[in-house]
């Protein structure tokens, strides 16, 4: 079936060439040209700008802090789901994934409602008489941290949970039978074996935090720019394309270098390579490890209630913004306020009466569905070739396909903008279609490669020996058995496009504007509950789709006749 892996990968490679490599190339080219002539001027300006280097340093340090906070919160949560609450592990992970069902934009917006001067926390504290003046919880660095950690938490929990789940509980019992007290068997057995998950989570969170745009822009202090914001301002306000490109290049170079440096960890996370070695010697100073053992030992007797308490609290915090969004959508207030003073459907009516919003919704649906369908169509043969073929460089090809997810979208957006302008496609459906194919592809490749790796190829061989030709056995065996993986690959690819704001910021035009752009403009200008309506509709539709999938209403046609 796979005599020609290159042919199977070709469509995806072409798409990556047009939608990823060409745009990245155009960023580099633009950074090196002024007025059509080669020039290092932009680089000189960027590298000598104290302001920009300060912003770069701030981005780095904030990403580091966010990574540490996220890991510290994620590890006990994953531990709880993988051990104490093992029976509910799958359900807990599904709940952890729920925030993905609404966009970063809507989740950040919800934090404004929770942390704002007029928000949930301040109102609660005021009514308890603990404070007189509202605490400044948002539009500062604290707000940025809360929002970023909240959004990145699932990204750290998943790989840590996956690593912990692979740990045989008998190992801990063996440790105990060999004389290790609970604390010491945790720090000598469990911690090292779960470390590949921790380092994978750390790598992903840090790389993602480096490119954050929406959350710091919405929740952070007005002047407290991160790199992505700095680049956006250069383009949209100052129209200094060459310096913006040079800044994007610098960010891109840093993140790419980090990604290549950390590639083993990232690849191991996605199940591309299951041979990830557990840390033989933990990169922790012995003192810290002993401290960890001591703390774990002290907590061991009350670990179960403690972990349940912690787990439930964190799950509540994780899901709180979703609940807040739903409640706001039914608010009767003319502006964002939480809790709502009364209930009404006025914002739903207002949404459905607003032609601009409806048009943007339709446009978003069309381009993200087209992008997801294309990503699935070209990503499936690509994943097949990667998981089944025996050839050199599979890990690098996997990384290339996944790079559009890991590398900062601001750089990709800038590159797509340059490319689209040059091709005269700016604001067209085609440019969005290409963009969302490329941003959806990583999810398709990650999910399908992992699923195909786990898939028992003997089933396909059996079908072959029984007389089924290649396409027939893909249809009869592979597709129905991996239907859930194909569905979630499509869903995530769709969400990658539908939730995108950054690329929209650059590609949108009066003829082609996404719903994310509409919401963004609305949030910046008036913060009405209309954005929450979009969140509720999205959430409702996706939950409905999940329910239908669960009931397998659509599985009947796959039954082979």
């Amino acid at each position: 079936m796979l005599n020609r892996p290159f042919l199977l990968m070709l469509p995806a490679l072409i798409a990556l060439g047009i939608g990823f490599i060409l745009p990245m190339g155009s960023v580099v080219w633009t950074s090196l040209h002024q007025g059509g002539l080669f020039s290092m001027g932009a680089w000189g300006e960027v590298l000598s700008s104290r302001t920009f280097l300060g912003i770069l340093g701030r981005t780095f340090s904030m990403a580091a802090v966010v990574t540490l906070l996220t890991l510290a919160l994620a590890y006990p949560l994953a531990y709880w789901a993988a051990t104490t609450a093992r029976r509910w592990g799958a359900q807990i992970m599904a709940l952890v994934a729920v925030p993905y069902l609404t966009s970063i934009l809507i989740r950040s917006y919800a934090w404004v409602a929770i942390l704002g001067g007029n928000g949930l926390v301040n109102r609660a504290l005021e009514s308890l008489g603990l404070i007189e003046e509202p605490l400044p919880l948002v539009f500062n660095r604290f707000g940025s941290y809360v929002g970023m950690v909240h959004i990145l938490l699932p990204m750290a929990v998943f790989p840590i949970f996956a690593a912990m789940q692979r740990i045989d509980p008998a190992l801990m019992r063996a440790g105990a039978s060999l004389g290790a007290p609970p604390g010491s068997s945790f720090s000598t057995i469990f911690l090292p074996l779960s470390w590949p998950g921790v380092s994978a989570g750390a790598a992903l969170v840090f790389l993602a935090a480096m490119g954050f745009y929406i959350t710091p822009a919405l929740l952070g202090a007005p002047g407290d720019y991160l790199v992505a914001q700095a680049i956006e301002v250069r383009v949209s306000t100052l129209a200094e394309f060459d310096t913006a490109a040079a800044q994007a290049c610098l960010l891109l170079a840093l993140v790419t270098a980090l990604m290549l440096l950390l590639r083993k960890r990232i690849v191991a996370m996605a199940g591309e390579d299951t041979t990830a070695a557990p840390a033989r010697r933990l990169p922790l100073p012995p003192l810290l490890r002993r401290l960890g053992a001591a703390v774990a030992g002290l907590l061991a007797p009350i670990a179960t209630p403690l972990l349940w308490g912690y787990g439930l609290l964190l799950m509540t915090l994780l899901l709180a913004p979703m609940i807040v969004v739903v409640l706001i959508a039914f608010s009767s207030a003319p502006y964002l306020s939480f809790p709502p003073p009364g209930w009404s459907l006025r914002w739903f009516f207002s949404f459905f009466a607003d032609e601009a919003w409806l048009r943007a919704t339709g446009f978003s649906l069309v381009v993200s569905l087209a992008g997801a369908a294309t990503a699935l169509a070209i990503g499936t043969p690509f994943a097949l070739a990667l998981s089944r073929g025996r050839f050199q460089g599979r890990r690098l090809l996997w990384l290339l396909a996944v790079a559009p997810m890991i590398l900062p979208h601001i750089a990709l957006a800038l590159g797509l903008f340059f490319t689209a302008v040059r091709l005269g496609l700016n604001g067209s459906i085609a440019s969005f279609w290409i963009a969302y194919t490329v941003t959806g592809l990583p999810y398709v490749v990650i999910i399908l490669v992992a699923a195909l790796r786990r898939f028992d190829t003997d089933l396909e061989r059996a079908a072959a020996s029984l007389g089924a030709a290649p396409l027939r056995r893909f249809r009869d065996v592979t597709l129905p058995l991996l239907a859930a993986s194909f569905a979630s690959a499509f869903l995530f690819a769709f969400l990658a496009g539908f939730d995108d704001l950054i690329i929209s910021l650059f590609l949108s035009s009066p003829n082609g504007t996404t719903i994310a752009m509409r919401m963004w403009e609305d949030i910046r200008l008036e913060i009405s509950p209309k954005t929450a309506v979009v969140g509720v509709l999205q959430l409702g539709l996706l939950l409905l789709a999940a329910l239908i999938a669960r009931l397998r209403l659509w599985s009947a046609p796959w039954r082979t006749r």
Partner: protein, 359 residues
Amino acid sequence: MRQAGQPVEIQGLSKRYGRLRALDDVSLAVAPGEFLALLGPSGSGKSTMLMTIAGFERADSGRIIIGGRPVDHLPPHQREIGMVFQRYALFPHMSVSENLAYPLRRRGVTEGEILRRVTEALGTVRLDDLGSRSIDALSGGQQQRVALARAIIFRPAVLLMDEPMSALDRKLRQHMQLELKQLHQELGTTIILVTHDQEEALSMADRVALLNHGRLRQVGAPAELYRRPVDAFVADFIGRTNFLSVDHSGVVGFSTPLAGALAPDSAAPAPGKVLGIRPEHMTLSDDAPGEPCRVIQASFGGAQQVLLLAAGGQQLTMELPSWNSSGGGRLWQPGEAGFLRFLPGTARVYDPLDTQETV
């Protein structure tokens, strides 16, 4: 559902994975309706050979001819070969009947005929009432039968089996071996079975092909492999064999001559060679004649006792019945002395077992 088996001819098959020779110029002819076992330790190339016959692997060189027709260029789904997989590879999203119907649907058999043949196949493997079951609801033995039924329902002329019994427990395995042998006689299909279990190979197959390091070591009827191994590897892999150092005069350190113990077609003893003698081909008595020896260890194993003996400065294992014609036989204890004799015509001289080839 009898179907005349087809001959399978394998000519000079070679396959490399990087530097590893998985198959090294293997030639083998399987007669129509024959039951052949491909036996060998793990990594011997037996599975690669099966996968190449089925069409899932492509050989670097060599030919496979089934029923007089070369099949090397054919993809697996056009080879008309039935296959039972090690973990059965039953389709979990289909019922038992749907699994059985699958190959018939691929061949455009009419619905009425499908129903008839599925019912017949369920009867053949004695699962008559389980057609509507889902695969998860079957025991290991039942799954094995479904896998077998699915592989033969389209009446392939050749049936390949990849360690089909390895997932079953010992009792069930022996039962299924008998059933499979009986089914083979009923069907007349050519069967090639891969196994690493010599007992399975010896008890079921008409002929056994023993592979090691990608090379065919010996092909023959089970008794022939047991009685006339061509080299020390075969002697060691089929049953068990003691290897003793020899020189021109006989076993090193032994005072009694080898003389009649050697098989008539054996090579002559010489320095650097070894004498192979099976543990069951010796006797031990309290009285001379024989080679004086001492019991080092003794273990009781039901029908037989296993002794570790020291004789002439060498050690060897022997197996002797724990009973004799008058009921309870002599049970030997460690430390006891006795006289050891080899049964006539049972010992053979080999080149020593290459250390790399030990099982």
